[in-house]
Subunit: 337 residues, 2 copies
């Protein structure tokens, strides 16, 4: 049995081995991904993002435990924790260990951290490859957990079918500004740590920002007068992100959150947005691979000494990086003629 | 007078105009950058990064005010605030307005936010171009402020000569893990909000993580015994990041922080690291431009219909993204033969 056949059969050891090969971008890993790709497209990809301190990891754990307890439709869950901390201090390992305690011994759950170091082209591409491995291996739900303050992490989360943005009360003044940016990508909003003081303020702030993004009234200012008219009738195809309140330490609000996620999934299928989001994800993955291969091909063609002599001109500030690239690309064209 | 001549003369209106052109990646902007590039390389680039809620923006304001009050060496300061929030809710604009109050009317200070939307290739390249504009326009210190939880933002901050990582007491449990990752890029550490409870804990945690990264003793475990030996004699060329405590609301600790920055700058010049960091920055900028141009050239060569037919095969899961790229690149080679 080949590695990809064994992954298709759901063998945990083979999955773990393939994920490592994918992370190292090995030829075997690439070959297996090619074989597995036609078997993907079934899983529901859920992105979970939020600033540090919002408790998203325990929320993901609780949600996973909840899904596993629904015996009627016992779903297999994979969790990809995209961890911006480095392997050096073991951030990723620590996170895994805490999780193991809650979810270990359950064959229907697979947790994998991905640290950001070492991956030249960012994390979006390995994350996409990881989801394909889990998807082909028969996992029904794949949760991609990222720290939501950074643009690249937000970019990863928004590649999911359903993006959950987690907030928590009282996280300091900078939070407001960031919230605005990531609110736009939210399909479901969660105010976690809802047993803490200030939860009403957080919820109110979220509602007013949501109102800005999805107005039910339109307001005009005209010759000093304020005119307010109703927005066009609510379209059934328009999804207004619900706000869920949860306490991830004791699991309060988790069933309601799971319900919001199920509703969003149904909405995506009805509106055709499911296919649109799938398409957008695959398109950007294709572009990322294309970009990488173009760069690889370039460095195969160009002489190292030639490249370094152009770099030297930039370092001495004789020519700008733009001029250097023009020189490098024209030089190449001439070689071929 | 051309736009770049006017920028070289320090004209604020021209600087503002050029920054907008650079942000839009206009041909005029590119041309001006090429003209300005030989005039760059003088400014001290300072990266300031930290999680939301650490108060880094007020810290940057206080530091700027302090520099401007040093009448003996009255430095010109530019601040680039890399803002992950979107233009839609005006996060960037709001931040600017708060700052205007403190720093407005001072011709020696220029503040510019950069929102992350719309820039296809990430923020590293426009940030690098912004620093070149300010550098050529005669700004002595360029502060690049980023939110430090995301990998891409950390990548931007570490392109500076001096990277300041800002922490604050009591920011929740996730922070520890993130700290580990960004600690490695810190040249100067700041515990801001040092008047708050928990400041000793934060400082202790930082010291022990620093100890891990820069050990003064080496510890071995051998047959059940722990052996501790002194690390090799401290090399004058090794920089151990100092920890500064500040209260950015009242400016406490700011002179000491400015002193740490000055010492780091002197260390960089003595050790030769200044030139090394400059070189690394210019190299990665060159690579980014190269990557972008390779992609542009590819899309100039390839027929839109041909590209879309390959995309369709991926969307229908007939071929994987890797196979699609192979097809696209081989197709191209054949066209040329």
């Amino acid at each position: 049995m080949t590695l990809s056949q064994s992954v298709l059969a759901g063998n945990r050891l083979s999955i773990a081995r393939l994920l490592t090969q994918v992370e190292n971008d090995s030829p075997e890993g690439r070959a297996a991904l090619v074989e597995l790709f036609p078997h993907t497209g079934k899983a529901h990809l859920i992105g979970v993002t939020g600033a540090p301190g919002t408790g998203k990891s325990s929320l993901v754990n609780q949600l996973t435990l909840y899904y596993r307890k629904q015996l009627a439709a016992r779903k297999k869950i994979a969790i990809i924790a995209v961890d911006p901390s480095s392997p050096f201090t073991g951030g990723a390992v620590l996170g895994d260990r805490v999780r193991m305690r809650d979810l270990s011994g359950d064959e229907g759950v697979f947790i994998r951290s991905m640290a950001s170091r070492g991956s030249v082209g960012g994390l979006a591409q390995p994350t996409a490859s990881f989801t394909q491995v889990f998807d082909a291996a028969g996992f029904d739900i794949i949760i991609i957990e990222t720290v939501g303050a950074g643009q690249s992490e937000v970019d990863i989360a928004k590649l999911a079918h359903t993006t959950i943005v987690v907030e928590a009360p009282g996280l300091g003044d900078d939070i407001q500004a960031i919230k605005a940016g990531i609110l736009e990508i939210a399909d479901v909003l969660v105010v976690n740590k809802a047993d803490r003081p200030g939860v009403e303020n957080t919820e109110r702030a979220l509602r007013s920002t949501l109102e800005l993004a999805h107005p039910t009234k339109r307001i005009f200012h005209h010759h000093g007068q304020t005119i307010s008219i109703d927005a066009p009738e609510t379209d059934a195809n328009i999804w207004i992100p619900p706000i869920n309140k949860t306490v991830s330490t004791d699991g309060k609000g988790i069933p309601e959150l799971a319900d919001s996620i199920a509703k969003h999934s149904a909405h995506l299928r009805q509106s055709g947005d499911w296919a649109l989001r799938d398409g957008a994800r695959l398109r950007s993955e294709l572009e990322a691979v294309l970009q990488e291969e173009l760069v690889n091909h370039f460095f195969e063609r160009v002489q190292k000494a030639e490249y370094e002599s152009v770099v030297d001109k930039v370092l001495n500030r004789n020519i700008s990086p733009y001029e250097a690239v023009k020189l490098l690309l024209n030089g190449n064209t001439e070689q071929k003629k």
